[in-house]
């Protein structure tokens, strides 16, 4: 079952072709990796999927429904959550509040319900608190729930972003360099966490990563981008041995 399909997506910035005819199919409940050198268009791809950019060409299908041009918040509410390469937490809010805000997409009480404290709002608040606390326990930040987000260590911030993304009850999670800046031990834990959430919550996970070891270890399938073009995809073993990939990407190091 395909959850996300990209069909010949192209994007340009000021005449520069950031993505060129990229097509990808991502299956439900798989862990999918996107790799490529700097400037290959990986983050741009994420920004297109989450609706921040509208592609100039091509179609984007989520669960069979065309979503190009849909507003980012609506895409989020449809069940696509993400983290950011340069961490974007709500710095001056508590860890708990960060995750609670993540629940926004799955709750509904509006202005009047909130101001007047109507039952619907109170019921949702209980639900939100409960959900946020459970997620914080899952990623191991429950003890720090009243800290400001910007007081957390770097690795903790990355994990908090994942928790916030999960709060949205997504079916697809996009992780933008989740392992950046982590030490090997932290990365080990991260991999465990990613597998765990996929298995427990039955999610699909797409991640962009530079760390080859991490990607090869965790991902079931991989796509390789270079200069905005997809040059290969398939299982880690297949991609690793693709001559074009070796030449253009792994070439120097391998």
């Amino acid at each position: 079952m395909i959850i996300l399909e990209m069909d010949k997506i192209s994007q340009e910035f000021g005449g520069l072709r950031a993505l060129d005819n990229v097509s990808l199919k991502i299956n439900e409940q798989e862990i999918f990796g996107i790799i490529g050198p700097n400037g290959a268009g990986k983050t741009t791809l994420f920004n297109i999927i989450t609706g921040i950019y509208v592609p100039i060409e091509g179609d984007l299908l989520f669960k069979g429904q065309r979503i190009n041009g849909t507003a980012p918040y609506d895409i989020a509410r449809m069940g696509i959550a993400r983290t950011f390469q340069n961490i974007r937490l709500f710095d001056k809010l508590s860890v708990l509040d960060n995750v609670r805000i993540g629940c926004h997409g799955v709750t509904h009480s509006g202005f009047w319900a909130s101001v007047l404290g109507l039952p619907i709002s109170r019921k949702e608040e209980v639900f939100i608190l409960d959900r946020a606390e459970k997620l914080l326990q899952l990623i191991g930040l429950y003890e720090k729930r009243y800290e400001y987000a910007n007081n957390l260590a770097y690795g903790e911030q990355r994990r908090l972003e994942i928790a916030r993304a999960l709060a949205l009850e997504p079916s697809l999670v996009l992780l933008d360099e989740p392992g950046a800046g982590m030490n090997p031990q932290e990365k080990e834990e991260l991999m465990k966490l990613i597998r765990q959430i996929r298995d427990d919550l039955h999610l699909t996970i797409v991640l962009v990563e530079h760390d080859m070891n991490l990607v090869m270890n965790i991902c079931e399938r991989i796509a390789v981008l270079n200069y905005g073009r997809k040059i290969a995809d398939g299982t880690p073993a297949k991609v690793k041995n693709d001559p074009q990939v070796i030449q253009s990407y792994l070439g120097a190091g391998a």
Binding site: I52, D74, F84, L93, C103, H104, V115
Partner: protein
């Protein structure tokens, strides 16, 4: 009620406390826009004047009951707040600041040419309905509702927009709608304060709602602490009292006022109670026990 209070408190202090109350209401409105949602608005006096003139004209010409008049004033301000909220779709930061300044100036010039409002002569003879009890009752209600809002799902999403708009969107927050909501509610409170002001002063004049008035209200929010209800209240109290207390230094008092702003910002750049929230305090104190 007021007669009862007046037995114990000097009319002069009563008067200042009424001004403090009115300023708290307006500052809480601006706090919602600028402090909580992070949309720099430098034209709050524009909303205040809309509320003041609408309420005053309704009272004067239609003999409407007081609460109806000030509600109409607030509603008028809110509908303009809604309109001003729309540019926030495209603008942010200093461009938005400029638009709000421009908007307030346009409103001021409009009232300078507005025949039913007496043009530059101003509007006088407004019945004095505003009293201590009414103002502080409204202050209490506004604080409670404001607190309820800020510690709810909607309130948190407003904070999220201030902190990081793109991340807020990725959480499913319709940032456009929320920003317009903040502007609408914030300007409603600005207009409410304006209506109360008009019905306390007997007399209003377009020049009362100039750029410096907007700055004064903004100062309350920033000085007290952006996004913090206790902070905004404290800011309103201090900046309303400051000119009265500085009266001893007579003509030097604006000099002190200016200097005080600079020094406060240097030593407490996030405001006196920056980011202190009733909710946080409760948690902290609760945990200690």
């Amino acid at each position: 009620m007021d007669a009862f209070i007046a037995q114990y408190i000097d009319a002069y202090y009563l008067r200042i406390m009424i001004f403090i109350g009115i300023n708290i209401i307006m500052a809480l409105g601006l706090n919602l826009i600028t402090g909580v949602t992070g949309q720099l608005s430098m034209g709050h006096a524009g909303f205040m004047s809309l509320g003041a003139y609408t309420a005053a004209i309704i009272s004067l010409h239609y003999d409407a009951p007081f609460f109806l008049a000030i509600l109409a004033g607030a509603a008028m301000a809110a509908s303009f707040g809604f309109i001003i909220g729309i540019p926030t779709l495209r603008l942010d930061g200093d461009d938005l600041a400029m638009v709000t300044i421009g908007f307030a100036e346009i409103i001021r010039v409009f009232f300078l040419n507005f025949e039913p409002g007496g043009k530059a002569v101003g509007l006088s003879g407004i019945p004095q309905y505003t009293d201590f009890a009414t103002v502080w009752l409204i202050v209490i209600v506004v604080i409670i509702l404001n607190a309820k809002l800020l510690y709810s799902r909607v309130g948190r999403s407003l904070f999220a927009i201030r902190e990081n708009e793109i991340a807020a969107q990725s959480c499913g927050i319709n940032t456009t709608r929320m920003k317009i909501l903040a502007f609408t509610v914030g300007s409603f409170l600005g207009g409410l304060g304006g209506g109360l002001y008009a019905h306390y002063m007997y007399y209003i004049n377009p020049q009362d709602f100039g750029f410096m008035k907007s700055i004064e209200i903004l100062n309350m929010v920033v000085l007290g602490g952006m996004g913090s209800i206790p902070g905004t209240v404290l800011g309103a109290v201090i900046l309303t009292l400051a000119p009265e207390m500085l009266r001893i230094v007579a003509e030097y008092r604006l000099l002190f006022y200016g200097g005080m702003l600079v020094i406060l910002m240097i030593f407490r750049p996030n405001g006196l109670l920056g980011d202190v929230r009733i909710y946080d305090l409760k948690k902290r104190w609760g945990k200690k026990r």
